[in-house]
Symmetry: C2
Subunit: 448 residues, 2 copies
Amino acid sequence: MENVDTLIYAGWVIPVEPDNTVYSHHAVAIQDGKIVDIVPSDEAAHRFLPRITHRLPTHVLMPGMVNTHTHAAMTLLRGFADDLPLNEWLTQHIWPAEAACVSPEFIIDGTQLAIAEMLRAGVTCFNDMYFFPDTMAEVVEKTGIRATIGLIVLDFPTAWAANADEYLQKAQVVHDKYQDNPLIQFALAPHAPYTVSDEPLIKAKALVDKWQVPMHIHVHETAHEVDEAVKNQGERPLSRLHKLGLVDSSLLNVHATQLEQDEIELLAKQGAHVVHCPESNLKLASGFCPVDKLLKAGVNVALGTDGTASNNDLDMLGEMRTAALLSKGISGNASSVPAHEALRMATLNGAKALGIDDVTGSLEIGKSADIVALDMQTLETMPMYDPISQIVYATSRDKVSDVWVAGEHLLKSRALTRIDIHELMSKVTAWREKVDAAVEAAANQTEK
Amino acid sequence: MENVDTLIYAGWVIPVEPDNTVYSHHAVAIQDGKIVDIVPSDEAAHRFLPRITHRLPTHVLMPGMVNTHTHAAMTLLRGFADDLPLNEWLTQHIWPAEAACVSPEFIIDGTQLAIAEMLRAGVTCFNDMYFFPDTMAEVVEKTGIRATIGLIVLDFPTAWAANADEYLQKAQVVHDKYQDNPLIQFALAPHAPYTVSDEPLIKAKALVDKWQVPMHIHVHETAHEVDEAVKNQGERPLSRLHKLGLVDSSLLNVHATQLEQDEIELLAKQGAHVVHCPESNLKLASGFCPVDKLLKAGVNVALGTDGTASNNDLDMLGEMRTAALLSKGISGNASSVPAHEALRMATLNGAKALGIDDVTGSLEIGKSADIVALDMQTLETMPMYDPISQIVYATSRDKVSDVWVAGEHLLKSRALTRIDIHELMSKVTAWREKVDAAVEAAANQTEK
């Protein structure tokens, strides 16, 4: 008998790799935070001597989901300004609110709220872009989730830095501090082509190459963005990024609702990734990412919720479903993005985009035990003909019962093990009034 | 002090009528199944002497949702065939499965499963189209939910009837039996223009006029349907229905993804209704209902989930959110279908389409106490800037805590009071194998 830390028996195991596969009555064995084997349940009973055993006969085990584009702390602005187009939403509501409120305290509480929401929804890794990445790294470390933290770069001043050079200097300091944390990696995160000029983009790319980390940037989010760039700079943003040497396998193009066929081919050829955020794109009427064409061209497409201010949740099960449904509608092909492909986009494709698919994104021997259990013995998930289809089209996040990250049990029968939910909720309640007051005070200041 | 049966105190009450209104700290008083008043909580405490008091300070009360297009019993086919276009899905999978399986027993268990799912998700009324409406009425009566039951009409034989005349004769019998039930009304439900010929359509319309009930029919679901009609009959289906005298305020046009501007104007002028099923239309790649244009033209647009075989849930909170997001994306206008309009579509517009807006669809004095309570004191629904926005964009159905229909408490702290959920789940589990076996047997029969 082989000693292992944990053995989880499940009704079904969906490994994601191999694709479109379901193992019935299997068990996952975990040692030192890693998956050491996935075997039929009766074999497991004879082979392993686990310290901890979980028996989940009515559950599916699948890889933890990778939310590949978030602004976690903005969860404190959930529902702050809705039913508005991107430009007005950003310049007249979100940016003023951020200018008035964003501080390390905002980051601490907002990020913790986001992480709590994501863990309760089966997300084990997220890729963030926001301010105070140092503070965010502290929160991530405390909660035990896996994250890629964006080192934001902008031309203009915010509470975090005064100019592009300071953003880059601070990026260096934060990066060096967390070098040895296995759950945290960084990405360079220039906000967008229209908010970052050439020089800082080139400098950010140098750091990407030096540190071998991803480049996380909003690209072609709206037709307006592309039109303005063509008008003012004489070229489309993606073409500019390519001239600056940014378009390669380190690049995460977030949104990408405006893509010509030659741009799709460029992304495929260069091995660049697209992060599709269908619900945010719909809510802000930003346009439609041509997911069907991208997949056919061989581009790796991952999924993200975007921030809750434009979604308004961090629900990757829902995002996966929306992606599957929307691609069918937009392409006019009901077979576009079938269930197993949507599941892959929400897991392994995200890990691939972040360059950590050797570590997470699927249930494979040697990978980190980043695992989600979903209870399928509920009215809403019955009858069950096909577990993958059921998860994508019929399972909502309240069915997530347990979550492990690197083998640590972070959600246990829906209870968070590292986060005090009542303390967090009372802090969040207080933020609602703080945000309103700060926004009002700032508006009064401006009027004077 | 005034004696009342029930008094529900809530953090917020969203009446839907008046539109876009939220009452903070109000209470709803119920007597004989009807709403007798909605007043500030402190006033309620001095005015009413309730037999039962509910205190829900962290909850929103809103009207029960009206799911205006379902095939309830098909819930037994949830996830049976996914990622397929409408025609192939219907003719090669769903119709053969129905031919092999549909029986009164199928209707009993499938309808009960659907009603249980809907009550747990805040739906208090549904508008159904399926076989064995007599059996369905029995189930509806047992569960206490409100329903409009479609009296289906088809040209071809099914387990329920052999030909159009028999469908119509049986309709008469079923209709007469339930005349006095306050929670059940019937609708004539010819399946679609392409499955019902002129004569039965005219006869169905005569019954609609005689009984003063709705006409429930799939219209212009796909471009294929419209193209075939133009090719074979020389006109678009809606034009044919209009010539037959069907297009008036009794008509529920379900799906309506293909509408020319003059057709939109026709619907507006005639007071006909559209039932928008965004998730089913996306999943089957059927096309996009022009909701923004319809609303601008003054057409009443209600919402439906369609059957779970093409959705795959009966979640009207989700459907409402999808409708709000999709209309923004399709119209290119982020202000299209704002949260309060989506909420109205999911409640009062449904009641209006069914001709029962004097009874349900909003929280108003004199209307039936069809009420839903949602718990907003959860991580996923915080912070709360705007309760209506929060419900539409961030609240999933697991937050539904309590449901009343005509004042009867059918869901109590998430427990169904009239349905034995464990017995139901074991029946549903058995159906999965029965369906597979029946489909296989039928396929073998065909091969011989």
